[in-house]
């Protein structure tokens, strides 16, 4: 069997792994990115493509700051990726809305934003509560039941399939290796090197980054880490293409750069099951039509489901191993939003061999029950 050897092995070729691998390759590192085959659980192929800030970080102000930093870095990230790969990932940040169908819903959402901003150590960011009258001028398509919404100028979106393709292309242009059909089964550290036993032979690397999405739960303990992530299903509907009429992304409805309208995404605890189901899709479509009645005239082109990678508290996990020096782990449920950080902020830390203090709050140790005892 052939043997691969490199400075960094990144396990997982989804958005998290690919962003980190590209970032490392840009720093001149030799990188091998290991992935499964065509059949795998991949949030990165089925997501809603928001680069979303508002409402993130209630319960962990560090997450709000981390998210904002990525949002602010996204334009430069998209430009750099575009320059290297000639792929336009269609990033736009026109500001986004979370729309509410009743006064009560709007009040609850406004209260949550208030609580978020009242947390100690919270670095505030701009948002406003927009009531119906003003909203109609901004979004003429809203239906009669829309009471208002929360607007944040920091919210945006992109074309996330192109993002994934661009990261892969960028990695390979910089000499990084993409090893698909390399399912990692075991990780061992011998004489300062990591030996990864895969379905296609052994891969060796001086350092290893676990970015395997839901696969992290099984892999993390092999290097003394914990990543108790679970799959959470989200269903999405996409319509035929129409002339641009929605100029802002919404939490559950957005028009893509190519004209389709996406309606998302359910949150369902069903384990490793990515089937779609008419009742959930019908409820999503019905709510979308209450928000924008004109959507009722559109043909649905496709529906799908994908599995989010969810931690117990919903926040990302970034850890480095104390028992296996040189092993790191990164996972989150907003891998589109955080892609700029994963590509530009994390890799210098990985190169230096130590995650920065701003990531201290994100360690996997927080899920260790004995740590709170």
């Amino acid at each position: 069997m052939k043997r691969e050897e490199s400075e960094f092995a990144v396990i997982g070729g989804g958005l998290v792994g690919a962003a980190i691998a590209w970032g490392l390759a840009r720093l001149g590192k030799q990188v091998a990115m290991l992935d499964e085959g065509d059949i795998a659980w991949r949030a990165s192929r089925g997501n809603f493509a928001l680069v979303w800030v508002q409402s993130k970080g209630l319960g962990m102000p560090a997450y709000a700051a981390w998210t904002r930093r990525s949002s602010d870095g996204w334009a430069a990230f998209a430009d750099a990726l575009g320059e290297e790969t000639a792929i336009d990932v269609a990033f736009r940040r026109p500001g986004g809305f979370a729309l509410c169908l009743s006064e009560a819903e709007l009040e609850a959402r406004a209260a949550a934003m208030h609580r978020l901003h009242n947390q100690p150590d919270m670095i505030p960011y701009p948002y406003e509560v927009v009531h119906r009258e003003r909203l109609r001028a901004l979004l003429p398509a809203i239906g009669p039941e829309v009471a208002g919404g929360i607007f944040s100028p920091l919210d945006g979106h992109c074309n996330s399939l192109r993002l994934l393709r661009a990261l892969h292309a960028g990695l390979q242009r910089r000499g990084g290796k993409y090893l698909s059909e390399h399912v990692v089964d075991r990780i061992e550290q011998r004489q300062g090197m990591f030996a990864l036993a895969t379905s296609a032979g052994e891969v060796r690397a001086a350092r290893v980054v676990l970015a395997a999405g839901n696969g992290n739960a099984r892999l993390a303990p092999m290097v003394g880490l914990a990543a108790p992530v679970r799959p959470q299903r989200g269903q999405v509907i996409v319509t035929e293409r129409v002339e641009p009429f929605l100029h802002h992304p919404m939490l559950s409805v957005r028009q893509t750069d190519e004209g389709t309208v996406m309606i998302g995404s359910s949150t369902e605890e069903v384990g490793f099951d990515d089937h779609v189901g008419a009742p959930v899709l019908a409820a999503m479509a019905a709510r979308a039509i209450r928000i924008f009645p004109c959507l009722g005239r559109l043909n649905v082109v496709r529906t799908w489901a994908a599995l989010r990678v969810m931690s117990p508290d919903g926040f990302p996990i970034y850890s480095q191993s104390m028992t296996h020096a040189g092993a790191f782990l990164a996972t989150c449920h907003s891998g589109v939003t955080l892609a700029a950080n994963h590509a530009l902020v994390l890799p210098p830390m990985l190169e230096a061999g130590s995650l920065g203090t701003e990531l201290a709050a994100f360690g996997g140790k927080r899920f260790d029950v004995s740590a709170h005892g």
Partner: protein
């Protein structure tokens, strides 16, 4: 470019395509009927505006969209029915006035 190769006893029906009468065979797919008529461009790409026509002929690619009696449908998945009104050449629709 396309022609029917099998003799058939199926009845001849008539469709209205962009205002013109077109003859077809009962039971054949609308895409087949239009292709046999020499029509290769069914619509325009909603992204670039370039002409598009049937490609997969099995419902997967959505290249064959036409407007049938007011609704956008895949011509390859619909049987030609006597008296159908079909419009071709549509690109990206406007949803709001």
């Amino acid at each position: 470019m396309f022609r029917r190769t099998v003799e058939s006893t199926a009845a001849t029906i008539s469709l209205v395509v962009d205002g013109n009468e077109v003859r077809a065979r009962a039971g054949e797919s609308l895409a087949a009927a239009l292709l046999a008529e020499g029509l290769l461009s069914f619509r325009r790409s909603a992204v670039s505006g370039v002409p598009r026509g049937p490609w997969c002929l099995m419902g997967a690619c959505f290249e064959c969209l036409v407007t049938i009696d007011g609704a956008r449908q895949r011509a390859c998945m619909i049987r030609a029915v006597d008296g159908m009104h079909i419009e071709t050449g549509e690109g990206r629709r406007r949803l709001l006035p």
